[in-house]
Symmetry: C2
Subunit: 464 residues, 2 copies
Amino acid sequence: MQVALWNVSKCAFHFSSVINTTARCVCVRFLSTYKTSHRQSIMSTVSTPPILHAFDEFRHYDTADYNFHVGAPHPDELMQLSRVIQQTVQDIRAVPSEVQSSYFQYGATKGSDSVLQHLAAFLTQEYRAPVNWQNLMMTAGASHALGLVCNVFFGDHDGVVFLEDPTYFLAAEIFRGFGLKVIPIPKLDNEQYDFPLWKRRLDEGLHGIRADGHFRGLIYIIPLHSNPRGRCLSPEEAAALARFAADENLVIHCDDVYNSLSYTGSIPPRLFPVGSHPNVISAGTFSKILGPGLRVGWLESTKENIDRIALNGIIESGGCANQFGASLIDRMFLNGLLQTYVKNTRNLYKEKMRLAVSILSEHLPNNVIWHKPQGGYFIWLTFPEDYEEFLTNVLVPEAKRRNVHFQLGSRSCASRFCNGLRSTDDAYTCTSGCQNSIRLSIGHLGLSQLPEGLKILCDIIKKR
Amino acid sequence: MQVALWNVSKCAFHFSSVINTTARCVCVRFLSTYKTSHRQSIMSTVSTPPILHAFDEFRHYDTADYNFHVGAPHPDELMQLSRVIQQTVQDIRAVPSEVQSSYFQYGATKGSDSVLQHLAAFLTQEYRAPVNWQNLMMTAGASHALGLVCNVFFGDHDGVVFLEDPTYFLAAEIFRGFGLKVIPIPKLDNEQYDFPLWKRRLDEGLHGIRADGHFRGLIYIIPLHSNPRGRCLSPEEAAALARFAADENLVIHCDDVYNSLSYTGSIPPRLFPVGSHPNVISAGTFSKILGPGLRVGWLESTKENIDRIALNGIIESGGCANQFGASLIDRMFLNGLLQTYVKNTRNLYKEKMRLAVSILSEHLPNNVIWHKPQGGYFIWLTFPEDYEEFLTNVLVPEAKRRNVHFQLGSRSCASRFCNGLRSTDDAYTCTSGCQNSIRLSIGHLGLSQLPEGLKILCDIIKKR
């Protein structure tokens, strides 16, 4: 029996050491009725704490901390969402039985016409440009969507994936799970795409791989308010990407998860002709604008691509990837709670970002290079090159000691994910300063917590 | 503009011919408040009807019909579920905010400890044998689970899948999506496994494929109350399969979706040592005992296998495949509504099956060979070999004319799915009588509809 004091989340309690289902169930039931502070006084020894959600698995999560690490909403925001969901489920009572029962039946593979049409109307308003419902299908969130696209277009043959550097730190593992070669997008010193080198990398990467009418590879990008840099592609970059993808028979997968969190009055004009360009797919999600636990998102592409994705075996067998979740979304479009919630979330996050930018502008030393994001969750701070050791060995532990958490830039480095060909010309050595950068997420902090947390961080930085 | 009269579901209405999102939304809102019969009188021309769920996509679905085709619950049963979900969501109000907010947060990759422990307690009671919560993880249903297992164990390399013949008619497409070779399990004339031939098939199928520490292939089975035959594996068959899988480094994927629908008093003793045998995975689901639209299921295997599956890139990125759905299940375990619902469902389906068996026993001619299922959804009727043409050309259309629908056995034939090596010794020619069999599902009919539908079917059969 291993008994240890667990105080990461500042609560500690006792669990049966033997894996005894019944005993643990009772324990969980009991605990779930008590607040953290109460638990602390009642129980004192521990083997493992109960895991509620993903961040408990990381063991560095406490809502009282200043958590700039996780790209997820604050629990108070999710309590608002809970109330909206409760009200929406109440509304279901009035829905005619033919429709109501369909919420619990195998869903149409793309989602019901109703939710697709409401989503199209919503996106048309958000983008200020028409979105056709026949270019949409529902998914179980952006990660599911990315896996689905890999499955449909690369599941039964090999291929190459090109990533921005830095990129979303959990994307590469999805690609590797499908046996795809992962290669960073080659760029010139001025941050422009190096298309001639890119073409060579593609040919090298595809050595021995036949495409046979499939896409030859995938370009994975986060075009708006990117993770981790908070940057947007320029229309010129997007146009060049689309041309390259068409010329080389590649598919561009846009992880469009932060689009609705644009803070400049409206979402920037669409960068790609998503519904009409056969080489472009856009994956949206309600994770950041409602809540990640709902697991509802969507794919937008040409009707031909959407039809093909909806024919995937898993979708054909199980129907809509999240039928009840998508049905709740449909009802929330109808009762208007969704539109209001998104507006409020956008305003809240706009204020969080304004506050964060204002504090960092005031307190960060001048040698830190950073860009003020116009939307999304993330701020990317790049320090002088010789700060690498300081970030890892001083800033992380010292900040942690003062209950401030963030993510080292190296986690987002695309070069470290490469499992493709190795090159002799250092193309795979990070040139984006990931090692001397850090990522801050504004998602998980309340407005009242945010200033103090950032001030602590700047305070430690300034001491170097 | 294409205007056509659509009357498959005996309702017809008008849609804007131009794809006009706003207009169609209004149309759907309007329609969703009217019953089919009302719509019919209001509207008379049509382009496409609105799609609510998967069966609308099939275009042969009407709840007034005798639908022995679809393996899904009756809408009235799903209305019961809707009420249970409404009550459960109401209960959420009383849940402490720390726990309540977690329902909408990124879920722990395997699901919360709480839902896993409640599920383990439930399964322990159902199976009358201990199930350890650390051998479980939540999924988004059995189809998602099967795709996930393929992704984790065969996503980045090739492999072979062996299927029972006949088998679940939508499984093969999932395997093909991962580029796996699909081969029927070789059997002797007496229905015993032909292990020597199986070993040869495996070696042929793996020609040129290196496993390198991975499983070499997958055996896909539905051990209890199988789709489509309604049969259970014998303990001896299961033991032989487990030995073969261990010897040949194959993984057995048990689609355990009908286990709780056992009608003989209790679920038969477990056929495989699921939590301890490294070559066995069991996929369960709430689709058949609650509702398919919830998209919640689970995987059970050794902790090592579960840990590996939970490290899948898509799961790592999105968290629990259906966090809110799994949280509802957790609450339904706590308020006891789930256990009661499953008991009621089991009793209802037991009665449906008893009634179906009694009517078929009385009205089917003697030359039809069939087995009385002890659980599940399906009855498999095998006719004399020279009935093939009669089934396709007479029984299907004549039954349809009288509003009775069922599935031809050929849909479930594993041999037709084969994309593996072609053999010269006819091993891939169906030897299971699929061409002269039909599948009846009792799932979608109410008790009151069932007798009349079966009598019509027997009536047509007897006329040959």
